[in-house]
Amino acid sequence: MPEEPPPAMTENILELRDVRTHFPVHRGFLVRRRTGAVRAVDGVTLSVRRGEVLGLVGESGCGKSTLARTILNLVPTTGGAVILNGRNLGLASRREMLACRRDLQMVFQDPYASLNPRMTVRAMLAEPLFAHRICSRGDVQGRVDELMGIVGLAPRFARRYPHEFSGGQRQRIAIARALALRPKIIVADEPVSALDVSIQAQILNLLSKLCREMDLALVFIAHDLSVVRHISDRVAVMYLGKIVELGPAEDVIDRPRHPYTRALVSAIPVPDPGVERARQRIVLPGDPPSPINPPPGCAFHPRCPHALDRCREAVPPLAPCGPSHEAACIRLGELP
């Protein structure tokens, strides 16, 4: 097959520039007034290189799923730009957007909810091929078999319905569907958190293998840091709509700099009784604050063990703290 000429573009397949996604909050029944906004994603700047796995971690409500949906243009942005392959998705026409979707696919958390129960595997995998006019009717069978082979499902299952599969197999189908259009980047929102440990490992291996073999970039969203550390090249930590730390996976998780990342890492239970009992745990007080009225300054300061008065004054920007490692804390230099 002849190679397409490489278009002029940067090394980054995906760039986010100061992306904001806010949801308006309304009050009142008959007379509805806008009273505020949930700042689900509030100024995120990130880039993903070709073939790179970027892990995105944070607690529930930190905006990581909204960020995923924003990247896919499933929710409109309030500000900033999502740039795929050099093209600003916010400015793309419907037709351009359709073309962009070929390069950008998603795998959802719950394989019980993300597959249509009334479609066979074959129909689900063929649908994107028809929608984008990639295959003729005659070629579809071959491509469906190929896709099933890639994710480790026997092609004889093609006529089955989702309820005939286990959770792990369903997630494989969801991955096959995402791969159907040969995308350049996949956004996976908690793809393994609904699965048992032994099945989780199978899906993680599959995703790693696909990224390696197909030069596929992956934005891997999860709340489980040990899973993220295993699969990611780089990790971004989110808190209340903002990235608070970003860097190579080993650096961020083994040598975290931001106090929030430190607390997060120390909260992961270690499956070794000796280590688990000996170590010091940072137990954060309270819950994450509401993204409707975020605290002034650094959003983490009300729960931070190192907070000072000046943490309240301004939102700290991401600052370098090591080779390609950044953290958003004004006390970086002062912390041990």
Partner: protein
């Protein structure tokens, strides 16, 4: 005498699709004040075991086919319903996995936390409210005097789980059954809840059965651990021993498939296949089809749990015969 002794418990579900042997011959005991971890994947029967102890298995389709659950000398499966009720909810209580669906959305938190006292101790509402407030403070809910009158939807997930714990502990039970109480929560909130359970356990001297699929949580919390697979216990030992030197291939496979214990980038160890369908008869060891060490003998008979060293039992015939070398 142990606080709770479960012997050869069998709970099956009779459905139109066959008989599901959710719990199929489970025996264990819990001593006063200790923490027993119950680990297994979904469908291994760990929750059904707890539900049977608490009398929460819907019958039909559930049927308790045999065995006994003896709490402090009383068999909860055979005594009168009235006698069982005086134990369940008072001396043994349970917290559930999902704090979002386990609280009644129509009742104020105060009503729900007071209820066990009103039912079991005939407390007056005023007295019950006072003790409910104390309990809410003990589980770390700030501004409890005001927030006790809130409805569940006004609380976050972590706060609701604290309310559940307050409800479970208000009668000062001797045994707490915690069925994946932190699975639905974030790690930082999980750390708070685990710390809380540890502290209250020390203060009240109660025993805890902690059900989870997370080996990390077990490592930090439990004195003894039992691993379940397809309705049976395949290995039990004290936590240290189970993590350092597991003897059953399933326990070891489970441990090896945790990303945290493996170097980054290396392919993760996986257990091939999926857990068996417990509605089909299993002639031999339920794990044999997925086990890297299985041979023909494994399919011959269901292996019994037997002691390999004091306090350490497993149900693997090949390990017992000395035929398994992990490093080979």
């Amino acid at each position: 005498m142990p606080l709770l002794t479960v012997t050869d418990l069998r709970t099956h579900f009779h459905t139109t699709n066959g008989v599901f042997r959710a719990v199929d011959g489970v025996s264990f005991h819990v001593e006063r004040g200790e923490t027993l971890g119950m680990v297994g994947e979904s469908g291994s029967g760990k929750s059904v075991t707890c539900y049977t102890i608490m009398g929460l298995v819907p019958q039909p389709p559930g049927r308790i086919e045999g065995g006994s659950v003896v709490f402090d000398g009383m068999d909860l499966l055979r005594c009168s319903p009235k006698a069982a009720r005086s134990v369940r909810g008072k001396r043994v209580s349970m917290i559930f996995q999902d704090p979002m669906t386990s609280l009644n959305p129509y009742l104020r938190i105060s009503e729900q936390v007071m209820e066990p006292l009103v039912i079991h101790e005939d407390a007056s509402r005023k007295e019950a409210l006072g003790r409910a407030l104390e309990m809410m403070e003990a589980v770390g809910i700030n501004d409890a005097a005001r927030r006790i009158h809130f409805y569940p939807h006004e609380f976050s997930g972590g706060m609701r789980q604290r309310v559940m714990i307050a409800m479970a502990l208000i009668t000062r039970p001797e045994l707490l059954i915690a069925d994946e109480p932190t699975t639905a929560l974030d790690v930082t909130v999980q750390a708070q809840i685990l710390e809380l359970i540890r502290r209250l356990q020390r203060e009240l001297g109660m025993a805890v059965i902690y059900v989870t699929h997370d080996l990390g949580v077990v490592a930090g919390l439990c004195d003894r651990v039992q691993v379940m697979y397809a309705g049976r216990i395949v290995e039990k030992a004290d936590a240290q021993t189970l993590f350092r030197s597991p003897l059953h291939p399933y326990t070891r496979a489970l441990q090896r498939s945790i990303p945290a214990l493996q170097p980054r980038g290396r392919e993760l160890f996986t257990i091939p296949g999926i857990p068996p369908d417990v509605s089909k008869p299993l002639p031999g060891c339920a794990f044999a089809p997925r086990c890297g060490f299985a041979d023909d003998a494994c399919n011959g008979a269901v292996p019994e749990l037997a002691e390999a060293a004091p306090g350490h039992s497993h149900a693997c015939i090949r390990m017992r015969a000395g035929e398994i070398d992990w490093d080979a």
